[in-house]
């Protein structure tokens, strides 16, 4: 994926760029606001990581321009400012997420991944089964009025099971859908995720049923 990093502190920019390059993304790194605005006019990105305090043109202004130009690129804002004087927040200006400096680099990576997946056209439609509503955009499942945060693979698993309630999925089938063919994962991983998902959806009106030796299925409690 193609990432534009706009960060004027060398030490920070270097680390972020290195991290994202290490996991296979291509990173363009700009240190001035004006240069970043220029490049954004001509190039499309899958993610923009934007520092707020920049020389020449500040991050909020770039964000405003980007949204005015109806650019679909997701923007993750990094801010070192305190909100003592801010009347508007990054989120209100159209940022998709923000992190307060100093941040945990793993958290930055994780949030960036969520934004890029969403941008890459991952299905954002809402899936319902029993009283479970899966909402990818907020990374959560709603059970009644309760929203439960889910991890990426838990979401994928729930999506597979909930989109076709009653159908039985074998362990191998699920393993392939979750991890692909490349990754070398033990079949026990499926049990682990099923276990976690069951715990998180504890009081829902739909259950994940284990059929020994066959696989798993999602059953809504319609009869009750």
């Amino acid at each position: 994926m193609r990432i534009l990093l706009v960060e004027d502190t060398r030490d920070v920019g270097e680390a972020i760029a290195r991290r994202f390059k290490a996991i296979g993304h291509s990173v363009d790194w700009e240190t001035s606001g004006a240069a970043a605005a220029d490049i954004l006019d001509s190039t499309g990105y899958d993610l923009v990581i934007l520092d707020v305090m920049l020389p020449e043109l500040d991050g909020f202004e770039i964000l405003r321009r980007l949204r005015r130009a109806k650019s679909p690129a997701p923007v993750l804002v990094l801010t070192a400012r305190s909100e003592v004087e801010d009347r508007v927040e990054a989120l209100d200006l159209g940022a998709d997420d923000y992190l307060l400096k100093p941040f945990d680099f793993r958290e930055l990576e994780a949030r960036a991944r969520v934004l890029m997946r969403r941008h890459a056209g991952e299905p954002t439609n809402i899936i319902q089964c029993g009283d479970i509503i899966l909402d990818r955009a907020s990374r959560s499942a709603r059970v009644g009025r309760r929203e439960i945060q889910l991890k990426r693979r838990e979401i994928s698993l729930l999506e597979i099971l909930a989109s076709r309630p009653g159908r039985v999925f074998s362990k191998d089938e699920l393993l392939q859908s979750l991890f692909g063919f490349d990754e070398d994962v033990s079949p026990n991983a499926v049990e682990l995720y099923i276990g976690r998902l069951r715990k998180k959806l504890d009081c829902a009106k739909a259950r994940i049923v284990t059929l020994r030796g066959v696989g798993y299925q999602m059953v809504p409690d319609d009869t009750e």
Binding site: A15, A80, V84, F105, E147, K151
Partner: protein, 462 residues
């Protein structure tokens, strides 16, 4: 009056009424004195006239002094109906010719030869007014001074004096009451600008530090001037503080981020076991420092905003949901169940969205760091006129005796080790700035709950 000790109105009113009281007393005394003098004067004239008429009626016939009292002498005196009259006529030898022999003249008879003398005295126990008139006879058979003494009881003149005094006192009283009422009105009117100034100050927004522009009388101007001067100083202070917090935030966070970035670059994998241990400690410390910095800045910001930001109606569910998403890291262990739940009441409060979010973020962050073992629940609801945000975890909880101290700065719940820092302190600060409270619910089989309670917005608009 003790209650209004320091009221300008009372002070002035008390002073003015004191002066009026003294004045009224003096005037009443004067009125009484003059009334008596006037009554005496009037009745004395009649009395003197009667005595002179009686003296005129004395004639000498054959060496004998003849008394032939004219009726007209008593007619005038009869005007004072209730008063009794006593008289005595003394011949030149000092013998009483007629009348009450025991009526004393009360003075030296020879002193009255030029002019009749009127004085006070008493007869048979009653106070009387006595007039003595002398008449000279130079008849060859009878020569010398004869005296007429007439006494009259004083009832009528006292009655007249009393009536005159009463009327005068009544007038004085009416005038005093009018003066007092006028003074009260005048003071109220004169003090009105003070009330107006107070009202103008009170109706201001807490963040409005512009000079006061209310029409004030000349006498009030120094006062308004010093208020405006003070406002100016306060505004400079506030903006200095604002700038300081903003600068500090940027100036500290940037190198701190750079530090963590560079530590991150070192990478675990390439290091030996010992170096890796050191690196981990550096990372831990840097993280602690980052958290503390954020909390200190957030604390300063929250305190500053409590005075400087105008509260507006906000939707607490939106704020809590945002706080929830900001506070729960994606990298959180997948075995922890994290949930958010808002009831259908959709609570709205009068508040500052930024501070409220900061408070909720800090409570959740605290729970994740020091409480949660495998479950964290955030619930927003309305209960009995309050919006309630509950953050529940399945950790050990905080013992009741430590509840008070954890909301103070840098208090440490012992069993957790490490410092709880400012999280609860920030939340408590925000709660009280919004007229709410930060509380705890005893650990039960379900979990330990931190409760943020805020008064619900009543009615529409702000």
């Amino acid at each position: 009056m003790t209650r209004n000790d320091s009221s300008l109105f009372t002070r002035l009113a008390v002073l003015v009424s004191l002066v009026l009281c003294v004045g009224a007393t003096a005037l009443a005394s004067a009125a009484w004195y003059y009334a008596r003098a006037a009554a005496d004067d009037a009745y004395d004239r009649v009395l003197k006239g009667a005595a002179l008429q009686m003296a005129d009626s004395l004639t000498v016939d054959g060496g004998e002094l003849i008394v032939d009292l004219p009726a007209s002498a008593f007619e005038l005196l009869g005007l004072a109906e209730r008063d009794r009259l006593f008289y005595r006529i003394v011949d030149p030898e000092g013998k009483t010719l007629t009348g009450y022999a025991d009526l004393a003249s009360g003075s030296d008879l020879s002193a009255v030869r030029s002019d009749p003398v009127v004085q006070n005295g008493s007869y048979s126990g009653d106070p009387v007014r006595i007039v003595v008139v002398a008449r000279a006879f130079s008849d060859p058979a009878l020569s010398g001074w004869a005296h007429v003494i007439v006494a009259q009881t004083t009832e009528a003149r006292r009655a007249l004096a009393a009536e005159l005094t009463t009327r005068a006192v009544l007038l004085v009283l009416i005038m005093s009451v009018m003066a007092l009422a006028g003074t009260a009105l005048a003071i109220r009117y004169a003090l009105q600008p003070v009330w107006r100034l107070g009202a103008a100050l009170n109706s201001r927004d807490s963040q409005d530090l512009k000079p006061i522009e209310v029409d004030m009388p000349r006498e009030m101007r120094p006062f308004v001037g010093s208020i405006n001067h003070f406002m100016g100083r306060l505004e400079r202070r506030v903006s200095q503080l604002e700038r300081f917090i903003a600068d500090a935030a940027h100036q500290i966070r940037t190198p701190l981020t750079a530090l963590t970035a560079q530590v991150d670059l070192l990478g675990h994998d390439r290091l030996g076991p010992e170096a890796r241990q050191h690196l981990e400690r550096v990372q831990q410390r840097a993280e602690e420092l980052a958290r503390l910095t954020n909390q200190l800045l957030s604390h300063a910001m929250v305190i500053h905003r409590a005075d400087a930001v105008r509260l507006a109606p906000v939707n607490l569910v939106d704020i809590a949901r945002r706080a929830f998403r900001a506070a729960v890291p994606i990298t959180l262990s997948p075995d922890i169940i994290v949930s958010f739940e808002a009831d259908e009441s959709d609570p709205r409060v009068l508040g500052d969205a930024v501070s409220l979010r900061e408070a909720i973020v800090n409570v959740i962050d605290n729970a994740l760091r020091h409480g949660t073992l495998s479950r964290l629940e955030v619930k927003v609801s309305s209960q009995a006129g309050n919006a309630v945000i509950e953050v529940e975890d399945d950790g050990p909880g905080i013992p009741r005796e430590a509840w008070e101290s954890v909301t103070q700065r840098f208090a440490t719940p012992k069993q957790n080790g490490g410092t709880a820092g400012l999280g609860f302190s920030i939340a408590a600060e925000v709660a009280s700035a919004h007229g709410g409270t930060l509380g705890f619910r005893e650990r039960n089989e379900h979990g330990f709950v931190v409760v943020l309670t805020l008064p619900l917005l009543t009615g529409e608009g702000d």
